[in-house]
Subunit: 298 residues, 2 copies
């Protein structure tokens, strides 16, 4: 086969966060610079990297953490992107208007321009993850964001559990799937349950790479964060960020408990060759998928 | 949580096949009886278990292998189901009319009645898998088949690569996902590629269990079968049939190269408890999935 390879070096920054926003962002930026120095052309940050995961409790004061886009975080990331000529995917608690806040991924292109943003579409709400309180569901379509390194299928955390979302991104032309995320264990769960949860989280995302023949980058938070309200034992964010190829194969994987940069080379050209062998897109039964746009079949 | 468990013992028969149809079916039936004697209430056979995988080449004479439903295979399975009071999922090369053949799963209930059948919806066509030549795509919806052990989301082989299909089955009320299949390696592929293929096949199916919080049973063929046309080196069917719980966790897994019965207990009650923790069905963005029923986004 004469298929052109299109290799890019990617990196992600898995980190701990504290209540000191300035420190959090300084750490992210230091690591972006380190990644750029190793040749990374695209760097992914974790979900809400400038903050602790404040959604553990419901508190009106937490809305003070939100900012506009563009705003301080976007502007800082923009200047780093421009300085190092790299593409950055960041994550912002966005204030769009009074009473309308989003959990938003921002993409800065290598010239520092804002290539686009994606407002989280699937919003969870579980004990410890009160996201429906803070975030209005996104009203974007699942459209990839065009950058100098390719069309990025950026989604956020809970979106990762939805094969529909990844498929929509792929059908809309994404060349890779990217998930900034913040997921962890309930300290009260036993080890068997923790293992099932971690594995299912990794597998569901690998499956999006497989079903859509696309490379995938998932950047997760690490470290323990207490529940500010004292109602629970907090969350042990499980790290384990990873990068896969277009057959879902793990190319690189981070540890669970430590902050680290993870890098890998991915070849966007492999999507073309894998799609010639695994011809899933040819055979979709679009005449029979009607129930997918319904709540339930009855 | 006060959630009723609903445990059933399931089994699958992973086997080699030869050109002797009678022997193939005799082996399946002997193993079904063995499984029933260990207490299995539901037994799954592999795709086209009565035949070699004749789709390796295109030959008009192979249409002689097809039969009606009901027909000889269905009737034999029916009498075994009734005798042992078990539910059986079999697979038939179905002649529906002159020029209309299907790759069809048949479900026999524990009283011997035909509970329903499912005509394979996604039809592959690759070197060694000339299924588009033999099989008209199914015109059923993705509707589960009601039996005395539950509503079975039965699909066939290539369907297993489509998250859409599994989701449709789940939205239509399936209580478990079941895939009779026949997949193997091209002997010319290197070991790294073989590993990627086997892993991606396992992972994509585990992901359907995870996304839909349903147990899953996948019964695959084993053994080498030559290409009757002599055009290729044949197929090494890779076995590795498996059974998962509703978090995609592997409950039981068969070897690669040998015929065997695989059994496990699954608890249909766990779907209710897992869906209370992993609330994916609550948050689907049915307003934003429109492109799923299109060929491509542009």
């Amino acid at each position: 086969m004469k298929i052109k390879s299109k290799k890019i070096k990617v990196a992600l920054v898995q980190q701990n966060c504290s209540e000191n926003q300035e420190n959090n962002l300084a750490k992210s930026i230091a690591e972006i610079k380190n990644a750029a120095q190793t040749g990374a052309q695209l760097v992914i940050l974790q979900e809400l990297h400038a903050n602790i995961y404040f959604c553990q409790s419901e508190n009106t004061e937490n809305f003070d953490l939100a900012e506009t886009i563009p705003g301080p975080v976007t502007e800082k990331l923009s200047s780093v992107a421009k300085e190092h000529k790299i593409v950055i995917v960041g994550s912002v608690f966005e204030k769009r208007a009074a009473g309308i806040y989003h959990n938003t991924a921002v993409v800065l292109d290598s010239d520092g321009s804002l290539a686009g943003c994606y407002r989280k579409m699937h919003i969870p709400d579980d004990p410890g993850y009160s996201e429906k309180y803070y975030f209005t569901p996104g009203d974007n379509e699942f459209k990839p964001i065009k950058t100098s390194v390719g069309k990025l299928g950026v989604m956020v955390c809970w979106d990762q559990w939805y094969p529909e979302a990844a498929r929509c991104m792929a059908l809309n032309g994404a060349e890779m799937l990217i998930y900034p995320t913040a997921i962890g264990w309930d300290p009260d769960d036993d080890d068997a349950e923790k293992t099932r949860q971690l594995n299912s989280w990794r597998i569901i995302q690998q499956s999006h790479a497989i079903a859509n023949n696309l490379p995938l980058i998932c950047c997760n938070r690490t470290g323990h964060e207490p529940d500010g309200s004292g109602q629970s034992k907090g969350i042990d964010f499980w790290g384990h960020s990873f990068i896969t190829g277009p057959q879902g194969e793990i190319l690189a994987q981070a540890a669970g408990k430590k902050a680290q940069i993870l890098t890998s080379e991915i070849d966007l050209g492999r999507t073309e060759s894998v799609r010639r062998i695994w011809t899933f897109f040819r055979d979709r039964r679009i005449d029979a998928y009607g129930v997918l746009t319904k709540r339930f079949g009855k």
